[in-house]
Point group: C2
Chain length 310, copies 2
């Protein structure tokens, strides 16, 4: 029996928020339904941020409410929503989100630019969010992400000790899962391995996720590095949708299709049907016809030697 | 002092032979000069095959003769030419090539389709080529590549034992360096590691090269897998030029810019100036304006956190 690896599809959140056009809600719903039908076990469908900041996320409440009614395939499906603060966490809970992801910038420069708060203020807010969520009748999983863990377009190199400190604080705040995020895509395999090991030494298996971008072409290699260090949950976006507002021309999240191919051909199980995943690109393209779609596997097709993990 | 890794730029050979247009000889010469100026230590500049089979390689004799006169930067520069048979090896030697690369298909289907010969006939020809070369006054290095080592579009999965058998035969024939080639780009990190280990167990450090394609998006991850197994020489092509005649839409060789970024940011030295490498794309584009150029690093630019290996 192959070991299971969770793939969290973040295209409808991280992918869309950089897109120039706004995907119509009905197509977004069909796209999320197509993603769910592939067997994905987590889909981050939106972000509870003020619509004036990210208009692409204005329909997140409706999107979450509809997504949680989708039929579950294979290992089941958790609907994830991003919440940047307590107000967002309350809205996500009310809409029925099953997981809430919270990004906290390890770099002060990114934290202040993104949220107008220091890293410590953000960590304190996470504490309030988790306290509120734990007082509600329904359990919601909390994924806390250490953003810019592998480099920052403002602050440059991010020391290991800073990442460890934020990760420990988030674990102590009660996060179910701590994620290390290569927000701008500057990471490399050596840095990935070093930081995963250092954080694991402090918080153990609470660290279980990597959020990677393919800015410099190392995204899938960085996933392999994480996999070799025992990481069993990865964020990715169909067709590598997205980008980075601070790196013009940068590619987006790592490509879900290529990631699943890496995992399945490395002997892990993802529960995902690769052919259905590739087919879901058509719905994405329908909703955002001018957005470039990345990914080598989809161009070439699944090779005849591919053996899906059992 | 960082450990050195050899990057062999194969764009002018493997990249061009699939291109629809033919790059004019004078632009090809300027492109190779621009590549040499980046500090690359090996450039495969052409192939001594009949021009009626691959018209893009018709000027290989002139290209080799000019390339060997280029100034050496950093670690020095070896000019490589591909030779499929004894006639080609003689021509490569006469033109002044410093290394000769010889591809031998592990899969019978690919061997017969590509050369109309069996794998054993090809191995026997390699023996004749090396015997002739060793009888000449000037020493020429021989790189023998086990093509389709990680899968074949005709024969499908290629067993480890078959790869080992061909690699051992090539080492016994006197090859200086044996290379495992993922000719169609079906490889994955597990398969790369397993076959590198198995071949190394038989021929030791004579196995020192990987030739990888990025057909399924795993190219750079496969390079990382090889690096972790001790491989210290990789083929790649600027802008990921190339493709595979048997996989429509497939990407080409792994992207040199992204590979160098992987190696340098992993603490290895390549002798290559990344900015000059990215600048060399302009000459390639001038010579083949309709050919797509791949590579994430060139789109995003070298990140400010990048520290070149000493």
């Amino acid at each position: 029996m192959a070991e299971f690896v969770t793939v969290c599809e973040v295209g409808p959140r991280d992918g869309l928020q950089i897109a120039k056009a706004i995907m119509p809600t009905d197509i977004k719903q069909r796209w999320i339904a197509a993603l769910a039908a592939t067997g994905l076990s987590q889909i981050e469908v939106g972000s509870f941020v003020p619509p004036r900041l990210i208009p692409q996320m204005a329909d997140t409440d409706a999107i979450v409410r509809q997504a949680v009614t989708l039929p579950r395939v294979g290992h089941g499906l958790e609907i994830v929503a991003l919440a940047p603060n307590l107000r967002g966490a309350m809205a996500a809970y009310e809409a029925g989100a099953q997981r809430i992801s919270i990004p906290i910038s390890v770099s002060e420069g990114h934290s202040r630019s993104n949220t107008n708060r220091s890293t410590d203020d953000q960590i304190a807010e996470v504490g309030r969010m988790i306290a509120w969520l734990r007082a509600q009748p329904r359990h919601v999983f909390v994924d806390a992400a250490c953003s810019t863990a592998f480099g920052c377009s403002f602050d440059g190199v991010i020391p290991v000790a800073n990442v460890v400190r934020v990760a420990v604080d988030l674990a102590q705040a009660g996060a179910d899962c701590v994620i290390l995020a290569d927000t701008v895509g500057y990471g490399n395999p050596i840095d990935i391995k070093a930081k995963v090991r250092a954080v694991r030494a402090e918080i153990g298996p609470v660290l279980n996720g990597l959020h990677l971008h393919d800015t410099c072409g190392l995204g899938i290699a960085n996933a392999l590095a994480g996999l070799e260090e025992g990481i069993r949950k990865f964020d990715s976006a169909l067709a590598g949708l997205g980008g980075c507002p601070f790196a013009p021309g940068a590619s987006g999240n790592i490509v879900t299709e290529d990631l699943v191919f890496l995992l399945e051909s490395s002997g892990f199980s993802t529960g995902i049907d690769l052919d259905k995943l590739i087919a879901a690109r058509a719905v994405l393209h329908e909703g955002l016809p001018s957005e470039p779609m990345y990914g080598n596997l989809a161009r070439a097709g699944v090779p005849k030697t591919f053996a899906k993990a059992a």
